[in-house]
Every structure is written in C-alpha cells, then in structure tokens.
C-alpha cells in the first residue's frame, strides 16, 4: 500500500512535468501559427532547460536559492492532492481546503526569491504578482465554497465521483454561474493575457524573472509548467467531471488549455488596477450569485 503510494507520487510528478513542458512547447507552436510564423519545435522548452542547466548561474544570497525551491516544492505538493484520472496519491487526506492553502505557496516563494535580488523590475513584478493573486483569490474562494456547499463535501475525489453519477458540474444549473466565473479567472491564475502583467517583458523586463539566470531560470520554467498543469487540472476536476482514466483526463486538460491559448493570442494586456477591478467585479459577482442560488435551492446530494 505504501509502496503503491510512493510509486504513484513519483509517477504523477514526472507526468505533470512532462505534460506541463509539452503544454509550454505547444503554446509556443500554436502562438507562432496564429502569428503566421512557423514556430519552434515542440521540444523547445526542453532544449532551453538543458541549455540553462549547462550555464553558469548567479545567486543573490540564501533566500534567492531558497525561495525558488520553496515555490517548486509548493507546486509539487499540490499535485499530490489533485486526482489525475483515478490516480490521486494522497486522496484520503486534505481536500479542497488544503489545495487552496498550498496554491499560495508558489507565488510566495517566487516573491521571497525575487525580493532578495533587489532589482526594481523584480519588485514591481512581485507586487503585481501578489496583487493579482489577491485579486483572483476572492472569486476562487467563493467558487470553491459554492462547489463544496453544493456537493456537501470538501474532498475533491468525492466531488469527482459524484460527477460520475450525476454528470458534469456544468450540467447542474446552480453550478453554471461559478463555472463561468472560474473560466473568467483562469487566465489570471495561468498568467495568460489579458493578465500577462506579471512578466510583461516589454514593460518591466520580465518582472520577477529579471535576475534569474542558468538553473534558476530552468527551475522557474519547470514551476511554471507545474502551475499550468495544476490550475487546469483543478478546473477540469471541479467542473468538467474529472475522468475515469488518465488518457481521457489528458485530452480534457489539453482542450481547455488550447481554448485559453486562443484567448491568450488575441487579447492585449490589462494594467494592474484594471485587472483587480475586473476580477473583483464580474467573476466575484457571478460566483457570489452562484453561492446564493446554491444556498437557496439546497443541497442536491
């Protein structure tokens, strides 16, 4: 039993890394095709990471090294609580509340690490990152609260199982509004346009990443890949019914990712105060309305 859990943990971390890097490569290729370019090979992020590990890298002190590992570890731990198909190594413990807490570790670690570099662009990027996290946490909390109230459980595995019996959450009318709200905030969690203001290479020199070189940049890339996998998996598990086997689950997250990529390709970028205004208005209103509807109509299970 313990052995299977350990094997599952290793398997899911490797799989998430591979899928995340594949998504990064796919995003560069699809963005290039939308721009009418040929685009890099789909393995380009892997090539970049191999190169970055073979470079010298400058450290800026203890917290600079620690923060990046902290953020990567935070992402890896969230993975263990998310069901991937039927595979979920730590399904017995935790649930949505734990995921909600752990999801904050990744931006916090990057903020610690970047703050040590004492670059003005890094400070601007970090303040934007934390403000944006502040912006999408409110609707996200409301959405998760609605889902938990509707299904009367905090376990994400149980939510997925209930969706097997009663259809996707989107098919329940009372969960339609929170689902739409989640779609509206997902680009902010992924760091896609119109919420690409954290890195913004043309504006603040790639923000928190400005001082990263060599293996630090490689680790941030891997963390970004994990982050993409986590945010889309959470959405798929909560609203698109999860999946019975990993292959089907992969197809689902691929479809969601490509749709958000198209949005990423055509939108310009918000300013930070516009982003906060937007996040605290429309998704929050929708999620709150959904919560009230769920409370009035009562529990279905």
């Amino acid at each position: 039993m313990v052995m299977t859990t350990i094997l599952e943990i290793i398997f899911i971390i490797l799989l998430a890394g591979i899928i995340g890097l594949f998504f990064l490569g796919l995003s560069r290729k699809i963005m290039a095709r939308i721009h009418w370019r040929y685009g890099p090979p789909i393995t380009q992020p892997l090539i970049d990471i191999i190169k970055l590990f073979n470079q010298t890298s400058m450290s800026h002190g203890f917290l600079f090294n620690f923060g990046i590992i902290f953020s990567l570890a935070g992402s890896v731990v969230v993975l263990l609580f998310l069901p991937f198909g039927r595979i979920c190594p730590l399904s017995d413990s935790g649930g949505l509340l734990v995921i909600l807490y752990l999801m904050l570790i990744a931006p916090l670690g990057l903020a610690l690490s970047g703050g040590e570099a004492a670059n003005p662009y890094t400070s601007i990027g970090i303040s934007r990152k934390l403000l944006l996290a502040f912006g999408y946490e409110l609707p996200l909390l409301l959405i998760l609260l609605t889902v938990m109230t509707h299904y009367n459980t905090i376990s994400i595995v149980e939510i997925v199982n209930k969706q097997f019996q009663a259809g996707w959450s989107f098919q329940h009318l009372s969960l339609l509004l929170p689902g739409i709200a989640y779609i509206l905030i997902l680009p902010a969690i992924l760091g896609f346009r119109p919420f690409e203001l954290i890195q913004a290479p043309q504006e603040i020199s790639s923000g928190p990443m400005a001082e990263y070189s060599g293996k630090f940049l490689a680790l941030t890339t891997i963390q970004h890949a994990f982050n993409i996998f986590i945010s889309i998996s959470l959405f798929t598990n909560l609203f698109l019914g999860g999946a019975a086997n990993p292959g089907y689950f992969f197809l689902k997250i691929l479809a969601v990712f490509v749709i958000f990529l198209f949005a990423n390709a055509v939108f310009p970028r918000f300013r930070i105060e516009q982003a906060i205004k937007y996040l605290w208005r429309w998704p929050s209103i929708l999620a709150f309305a959904g919560l009230i509807i769920v409370l009035i109509t009562g529990k279905n299970f």
Partner: protein, 192 residues
C-alpha cells in the same frame, strides 16, 4: 541542422543546448533596431531556430550589437556583457562595430568594438538584410560545434587588456574588475 540527432544530444547535451537555444539580447544602439523586428516576427521567424529575444542580460546567451557604438552606450554594453552568464556569444551587426563604418572619423563613437569586449562574429553591411542574422546564427552553430566561439574565455584570459582599453576611453570605471587574475597579458599584447 542536426537538432533531431539524438546521438549528439546524448553525447554533448550542453553544446547542443547552447546551439539550439540562443536567447538573444538585442543591444539596439542605432539604426539596427529596424532590422530586428522583421527577423523575429512573421516574415523571417527567428524562433524556428530557437533564437528568441529576452528582456534582461541575465537570461541571455547571445549578445547582438546592432549599429554604431557611441562612448556612452559602450559603458552599458560592457556592463550588460559582464552580467550575462557563461557561455555567451557576441555578434556585431553592421559595419559600425567592425571599423566605425560611416562614423569612421566621429569623435564620439568607438571604432573597433573588439578592443573592448570579445566578439565571436561579425555581420558586415550597412545595413545587413534581416536574413544576415540567420546566416550569422548558422555560422555561430559551426563555431560552437568546433569550440571556436570562445570569446568569453578570451575575456577571462585577457581581462587586463580589455579593462585597460575600457578605462582608456571611459575614464575610471565605477564597477570593480570582473576577474582579478591575468594569465596571458603580455603574450596577448604582442599579438595585438
């Protein structure tokens, strides 16, 4: 292009990675800024060769200096070059970094960029077409393959020479020397 040659990847992953993932820092000092956007956008897509512009010197390993270098920008070119992680490659784009070009008698531009930082390759012309960037990249691949793109090692070995030249034109530099030891100082002098 041997990007899909798995044997080479297993044999020397570092070298292959450096070849096919050139993160470029464009130091657009003057006229060359016009030639760079076409080369990275739709018409001549540089990203298919793995060349992608990055925002800061820390993330870059290809330093492209386009156009003339005035004394003022030289200071920032040197600082950016010293911030880049090794291995790093420099390419001078256009006539002006080579020998001054049309600014050959200007009091305010430097004439030979390779006196101040090591340059691995030149693209001649005033101005070169954007295709020339790709010719330079393929040449750079050959140089990396043969181990000849070692400007960063030359900088380390002959730092005293470069530092003296920099101080000659910029006065006293406000940053401390990057390397303290000087291995082949006298030897290099006789060659140069």
């Amino acid at each position: 292009m041997d990007r899909n040659n798995l044997g080479k990847w297993l044999k020397s992953p570092g070298k292959m990675g450096q070849k096919y993932s050139l993160h470029a820092l464009y130091f657009c000092t003057g006229c060359g800024i016009i030639e760079i956007p076409p080369s990275i956008t739709t018409r001549w897509d540089a990203e298919r060769f793995g060349v992608i512009p990055v925002a800061t010197p820390r993330q870059a390993n290809l330093f492209l200096i386009t156009g003339y270098v005035s004394v003022k920008t030289l200071r920032y070119i040197i600082r950016s070059y010293e911030q880049m992680p090794e291995p790093k490659f420099t390419v001078g784009f256009g006539s002006c970094p080579i020998n001054g070009g049309m600014y050959w008698d200007s009091y305010n531009t430097i004439k030979h960029l390779d006196k101040y930082i090591p340059v691995d390759g030149w693209i001649a012309g005033c101005m070169p077409r954007p295709e020339a960037v790709f010719v330079a990249v393929t040449h750079l691949w050959t140089l990396i393959d043969k181990g000849m793109a070692d400007g960063y090692n030359k900088y380390r070995a002959n730092y005293q020479y470069y530092r003296e030249n920099q101080e000659k034109i910029l006065g006293k530099l406000e940053w401390p020397p990057l390397f303290s030891k000087n291995i082949k100082h006298e030897e290099y002098r006789t060659i140069a």
